[in-house]
Amino acid sequence: MTVRHQPMIDEWYPVALASQLPPGGRATQLMGTPVLVVADDPIRVVTDDGRDLPVTLRYGHVWTSLGQPAKQLFDIPEADQPGRRLIEVGVVRVRCSPLRAVENFLDIAHFPFVHTDILGAEPHTEVGKYDVEIREKEDEVWATKVQFYQPQAAKSATGGITTDYMYRVPAPTSSVLYKTCPARPGEWDVITLFVQPLQEDLCDVWPWMALFDDETATTDLIHFQQMIFLQDRSILENQIPRLLPLDPGREIPTRADLTSVAYRRWLKRHQFTYGAQLVAQ
């Protein structure tokens, strides 16, 4: 791997669900490098040449890095909040850039067309103004005051509501979504997308949730999230080019895409370019 990708090499990535690790371990890859997640106690991650990689167990997943992470894995304080149910959704492989998978997760304008009658529906297609910033202290992308009309916002929702969202990008291939919690007004449900970059145009996606919901069966919660992500998958596999273009002329954003604009700018600033297309082809 080239030095060009060093900034992303030094980041943390999910490589397995700790609870689902088979006795023989999980043979996978990270940024083109084969790695084995070993079901020892404690869990280890090793490369083909026997190198032990750093390991963090958090949010149900095994996290590792090919390099030397300067920081600990990002914190999601809600994960430790009493009363939340932590839901492991499993893995789905997608033939797309890991960065495209995250960008799609940050997007709401596609809800009426891709998640029809669930997360959105015509004629409620308008995306209102919202706030986007790169928080310098945390070095994270944040979008706040996002609102959208949803026919069925969550498994526990009956009927349509205007849902509030906040989006947060704490790492190049991870995103945390905070949304209106139907069961507990005033709190936010937490839904994350953890993306394992296998190659520049191939990724394993590990959604995970921390919800206030005492009613819905766990399986129903898993299936709701799998349904949503599988609706996105056929989009992600048919975007051209597969890599995320960071050249501003290549794709045309509007005001609804400000989160994506900030995400791309933040990626560029940090040279998080594994899975990105730098020059238009």
Partner: protein, 221 residues
Amino acid sequence: MILYDYILSPDAYKVRLLAALVGVKLELRAVDVHPGREHQSEPLRALNPAGSIPILIDGDLILTESAAMLVYLARRAAAEWLGGDDAVDAARVQQWLAFSRRLTEHLGGARATEMLLEPGDLPAMQRASTIDLRELEAALSERRILGQSHLAADRPTIADIACFPYVALAPDGGVSLDPYPSIRLWMRAIRMLPGFIEMPGIHRLHDLKPEPVSPAMPETV
């Protein structure tokens, strides 16, 4: 009727789809197939030793093959979905129900391997899928020359429902549907049926709905 269901299972979707089309209400029991592998747990093995999903239960009857479930639903609620009664028509429906097993094995296998990381020989399953899709395309092309839009009768039958899901989801397994114009039109005819429901990977036919006339007013709480 109780259906042990998985939202991502095309075989379970066949049963939900026909039930929706003929107006049968199913009681759905979600099974945590992925990642939980609940379908291979003892309580479900007790119902279905093969450990597969879906399972349909109606009173004392337990069915574990989706083709049999389609026959049962149609017989109970809408016999016209069984196709014609004569020898040729009945055999033709059975031919496609059996053919749908090949689709499960090849297209379904490719999809499970490519998307959910199940073990399998992906290139071999993709090659076998191409042979299946060419056979289906040839059959549908012949039907079109005869002025027909569906596989086994002059109307949709359980033969169409049995074959539709794995075909429509072929791209999930890295198999393109671009080379098959007759399959494209056949899928469209099925998706246009009144009462049609989707599953993840099969998008809504937005063209059936008119463009919203006036700009939507911003929603506020």
